[in-house]
């Protein structure tokens, strides 16, 4: 049986680690206490708004990450072409999350899957409880729904879906389980849920539905926190790697 995954979602604003709330950078944190060993996977997202910073600062942050850890790293935020991917690939990223670019031109998913292999293509979607998808860091409505979009991205070759609940971003009240369920039931590829994780019970609740529980709360990334999370999940019967 495939193990379930606990995933750290690190959001960078101009290369600096921030916790976000309702899609706005909210609280700065230092990378010095982010434990890069015991977490199962890392999703690193560039949340810098256009004109508010430089891409190279984000790339430098990713470089620091890849130099210091050996767990798979998905990188996303602002990826619009294979050129963008190539640079991040050289730095050491394993998977690439595309969001707005895929909504604007869905063929990009086919192209990415062809060039990189489906395993490296993650389609990230930001949605409200209604299932409406928003693009450009949550700024624009797209008129699309998570389930039909999930089916399409799977057909086009996406290897994984990263589903973010915009309403729960930065909240600690639990994942939007109904939203996650809706996507999981639409596709066969793994779904990672993000947004709303407050405690380990929330993680175990969502892992009963999907494959990966991503948490963006900076206080969940310390070595002691992850140890606590893993032992809680194991006790709750979630198949998880305990190192």
């Amino acid at each position: 049986m495939l193990k379930k995954r606990l995933i750290a979602a690190l959001t960078f604003n101009d290369g600096v680690l921030f916790r976000t709330k309702l899609f706005q950078p909210d609280y700065r944190y230092t990378m010095n206490f982010v434990d890069l060993w015991s977490i199962d996977e890392i999703v690193a997202l560039d949340v810098t708004r256009p004109g508010q910073g430089e891409r190279k600062n984000f790339e430098r942050a990713i470089e620091t990450l890849t130099e210091n850890c050996f767990v798979p790293i998905t990188v996303g935020g602002g990826i619009r072409s294979l050129d963008d991917v190539r640079r991040l690939f050289d730095i050491g990223a394993d998977k690439f999350a595309i969001n707005t670019a895929a909504l604007e031109r869905p063929e990009i998913i086919d192209e990415f899957a062809m060039k990189l292999g489906s395993q490296a293509v993650v389609v990230s979607m930001d949605a409200y409880p209604s299932g409406h998808i928003f693009s450009d860091c949550g700024a624009h409505g797209t008129g699309r729904y998570v389930d039909e979009w999930a089916r399409e991205v799977e057909k086009r070759g996406a290897g994984e879906i990263l589903l973010t609940s915009m309403e729960r971003d930065g909240a600690l009240q639990g994942y939007d389980l109904a939203l996650v369920k809706r996507v999981v039931e639409a596709v066969n590829i793994p779904v990672i849920a993000l947004g709303g994780c407050g405690n380990w019970k929330h993680a175990s609740d969502v892992l009963a539905i999907c494959d990966g529980a991503a948490t963006q709360n900076i206080y969940h990334f310390t070595e002691a926190s992850i140890r606590g999370a893993k032992s809680y999940l194991k006790q709750a019967g979630v198949p998880i790697r305990v190192s």
Partner: protein, 349 residues
């Protein structure tokens, strides 16, 4: 910070001058008529032991004729001044429910949070939020009156006008602690031992109908005036001549560890205890900017020597270990290293 370079706290200080406080006072009375007196006490006042919550209790009793229950969650390392003031409040005619929790657990958490977050009182923040609400539920006292809305008074994101008035009990974890205390059950600390830090179930809160309001929405809030009232009416003592890192000795004087907490704040944000207090003094018209500038330059970021041996002993740390922890939290954009010393990259002007 706004586009004009003025922070929300200063804008609020300006706006405060135009508020019709008599009208707000009438609103407060209406609210008391609606919610007070529905349990064995009229209301609960979360009480740190300090001047602000003590003055609120005093005013509720003497200006509004209420019988509040004060819920005090004990400081990690009480100072003598703090202990004296705490007892003065009971002497002045109040019931205080005092939570003293397992200090073996508290010490472990303080150490962990100093290391990981640069904030040794993260669990204290959780407990001071949980304890009054827990007590409200247990005793069936639905009205809780908090002091000030921090985001409004001192700067931060104010979610709505309603959030300045009513404390949204579901948002406490996110805004005040940042984390769920249940997550701390690791390294020999069990979830049961974390009970004082865990926020009560929302179902219970709603069953009792707990309503929490900010006193500062209905009354002009001024920490300096509070300190004066506490001294005159309650016989509060101060730290003489001043606390480490500041020019005054009336604010946050109850816990020996607070000096370290403020020093860490300065290491992280280059915003120290003196800047914090001077801003409040300027905003409320008690100090000129020129004087504040002198005091900030003189005292901001001063190392907290006053209780250092007790604090290090509590945390189980050596001084050099503390320096190493601070180094990891220093924001490299705000500090640079010159000849083996860390210097601020910016100066207040």
């Amino acid at each position: 910070m706004g586009d004009d370079g003025i922070c929300p706290a200063c804008k609020w200080a300006e706006a405060k001058r135009n508020i019709d406080w008599a009208e707000r006072g009438a609103q407060f009375k209406q609210l008391l008529a609606q919610h007070a007196g529905r349990g064995p006490y009229d209301c609960i006042v979360p009480f740190s032991g300090g001047k602000d919550s003590a003055v609120i209790a005093w005013r509720l009793k003497h200006e509004y004729g209420l019988r509040p229950m004060l819920v005090c969650y004990g400081q990690l390392l009480w100072t003598d001044v703090g202990r004296h003031n705490l007892h003065r409040v009971a002497d002045a005619g109040f019931d205080i429910l005092y939570w003293r929790t397992d200090q073996a657990v508290s010490r472990k958490l303080a150490r962990r949070f100093l290391i990981e977050r640069g904030h040794p009182k993260a669990h204290y923040d959780a407990a001071i939020n949980a304890a009054p609400v827990r007590t409200a539920v247990q005793f069936g006292i639905p009205l809780v009156i908090y002091a000030e809305h921090g985001e409004t008074e001192y700067g931060g994101r104010v979610l709505s006008q309603e959030s300045q008035r009513t404390r949204d009990l579901t948002e406490i974890l996110e805004n005040h602690v940042g984390d769920d205390a249940r997550n701390w059950a690791v390294d020999g600390i069990s979830e049961r031992e974390l009970y004082p830090y865990i926020y009560p179930d929302l179902d219970d809160i709603h069953r009792v109908g707990v309503k929490a309001f900010y006193f500062s929405y209905f009354h002009k809030w001024d920490v300096y005036e509070n300190a004066e009232i506490a001294k005159d009416k309650l016989g509060f003592r101060r730290v003489e001549p001043r606390s480490d890192g500041s020019f005054e000795g009336f604010d946050s004087i109850d816990d020996m560890i607070d000096g370290l907490d403020f020093w860490m704040m300065h290491q992280k944000f280059l915003f120290g205890r003196a800047t914090r207090m001077a801003s409040r003094m300027i905003q409320n018209g008690h100090m000129t900017r020129d004087l504040a500038l002198d005091l900030v330059k003189k005292y901001d970021g001063e190392f907290p020597e006053m209780y250092l041996p007790q604090v290090l002993d509590y945390l189980g740390l050596q001084r050099h270990e503390l320096e190493e922890i601070a180094a990891k939290h220093r924001n490299p954009e705000l500090w640079h290293r010159l000849n083996g010393r860390w210097l601020p990259a910016y100066e207040v002007r």
